[in-house]
């Protein structure tokens, strides 16, 4: 077996050593993943790599593989429902895999059987002279629908362009967003996810906001309720223990 590159060295609060050791300790539950600040860990490592003259590609790849495993473990501990029901390493049991392989093999057999039928050329024709054989537009279209679709494409393209201009490389940090939401909840008691997102949230902003909510929920700061699938998420303050201290005013989304 070829030995892999040496695991990158990382230093975060409570741990200083090779990343693979950290992963091992977390997996053996000798370190609580919730206490490891993965953001700090990544920042520290990136800062160190940036300072190097050449990119240590093999080491960075190793870092990504190990760190992504840590992120998965952390996500699972934050959201217990993410934990796989089956004990297998990658979430798919041997039985599932086998069923999937058989399903695909069957599909290939069926495709081959259909292909054979096609090659014999033994087809049927109906009275109008047979189905059209060359490429035809799907049914149900007319010039009005085509024009409407084109207008939609143009609008999308314009909006895409607009977004490109408005938010060049915008960055949010979960810590910052957590603080903002904590302050808002202290003021208003009840909020909705919709108001937190604002009118035109970017994907990054929405994700960071959502993770911040999960973090606040984990820390028992807020209650989260959603009455129906895809319905509005209501956020209420859980305890009166916290006050808004030293948090920046929320920025417009």
């Amino acid at each position: 077996m070829i030995t892999g590159p040496q695991a990158p060295h990382v230093a975060v609060e409570g741990f200083d050593g090779p990343l693979d050791l950290l992963l091992e300790l977390v997996e053996e539950k000798r370190i609580d993943i919730l206490t490891v600040r993965l953001g700090d860990l990544a920042d520290e490592y990136l800062a160190r790599v940036r300072a190097l003259d050449a990119l240590p590609a093999a080491e960075v790849a190793e870092f990504l593989a190990l760190a992504s495993r840590l992120v998965l473990l952390k996500a699972r501990s934050l959201l217990p429902s993410l934990a796989p029901d089956i004990p297998e390493e990658e979430g798919e049991s041997e039985e599932d895999l086998r069923a999937r392989i058989i399903e695909y093999a069957t599909t290939r057999e069926r495709a081959a059987a259909l292909g054979d039928k096609l090659r014999t050329g033994s087809r049927a024709f109906h009275r109008e002279g047979g189905a059209a054989l060359s490429d035809l537009p799907p049914r149900g279209g007319d010039s009005g629908a085509l024009a409407a679709a084109w207008a939609k494409v143009l609008a999308l393209a314009a909006r895409q362009h607009e977004e490109d201009l408005v938010a060049p490389g915008e960055r949010y940090s979960v810590e910052q967003r957590t603080g903002e939401i904590e302050a808002l909840v202290a003021l208003h008691d009840t909020l909705t996810f919709g108001t937190l997102l604002g009118d035109r949230p970017t994907l990054g902003f929405a994700i960071v906001t959502f993770i911040a909510l999960l973090d606040l929920y984990r820390r028992l700061v807020i209650e989260i309720a959603q009455d129906e699938l895809f319905g509005e998420i209501t956020i209420t303050r859980k305890t009166a223990r916290m006050t808004a201290v030293d948090v920046p005013a929320p920025e417009p989304a």
Binding site: I102, R108, R110, A111, L114, L118, R123, A124, H126, L133
Partner: protein, 195 residues
């Protein structure tokens, strides 16, 4: 062998029909019960076995088509080209044909690759069509096969799909979810020729 009056009436109607006709419509026109029409269709089907014609049906809709073994001559007369379908498209078509109605996600779960392009190609060749949306989160589009699919593959109905042997040596039948759902839209889709 003399044929029943119902079988003769049905044959005449289907002969002039430019689109598939439902069993209920045949019953209404012929003034017979759906059960009698069913018997007459079976009778006609058996009679056609020895002719250059076949009865084709999808769900409850019926039409007269040419027999697959005459395809060479009919194609030559019509100047029709041979249909060619890539192996990737055939795989997508196989999933949809045997499991219809099927969603894109189901096809992709089985094939393990993105299937946007093959679905588009099959749609543009009218081998598959949209059948509505599934009432699950995201309301994905459901796809099914068309009359053209049956004709191009020389099938008289979906029951005629080739059965295959699985790697475990078992015969796999089509897993058609709702065979009755395969009729209506195709019928609406075929337009009457002008005049």
């Amino acid at each position: 062998m003399t044929r029943s009056a119902n079988a003769i009436a049905i044959e005449a109607i289907l002969f002039v029909a430019e689109k598939p006709v439902s069993r209920a419509e045949l019953a209404k026109i012929a003034g017979a019960s759906p059960r009698a029409i069913e018997a007459a269709l079976i009778e006609l089907e058996a009679h056609y076995e020895e002719t250059g014609l076949r009865l084709q049906h999808e769900g409850d809709d019926w039409q007269i088509v040419t027999a697959p073994e005459t395809a060479r001559f009919v194609a030559a007369y019509l100047g029709a080209d041979r249909l060619r379908v890539s192996s990737a498209s055939l795989e997508t078509l196989a999933v949809i044909a045997y499991r219809q109605p099927a969603t894109r996600a189901e096809v992709e779960a089985i094939r393990g690759v993105n299937c946007d392009q093959t679905i588009y190609t099959l749609m543009s060749r009218r081998l598959i069509e949209e059948r509505g949306r599934r009432e699950t989160p995201g309301r994905p589009i459901e796809y099914g096969t068309t009359w053209e699919f049956l004709e191009c593959f020389g099938l008289t109905s979906l029951e005629g799909l080739p059965q295959v042997i699985t790697p475990e040596g078992q015969v796999r039948l089509p897993e058609l979810d709702r065979p009755e759902a395969t009729s209506r839209r195709s019928r609406e889709g075929r337009e009457r020729a002008p005049g």
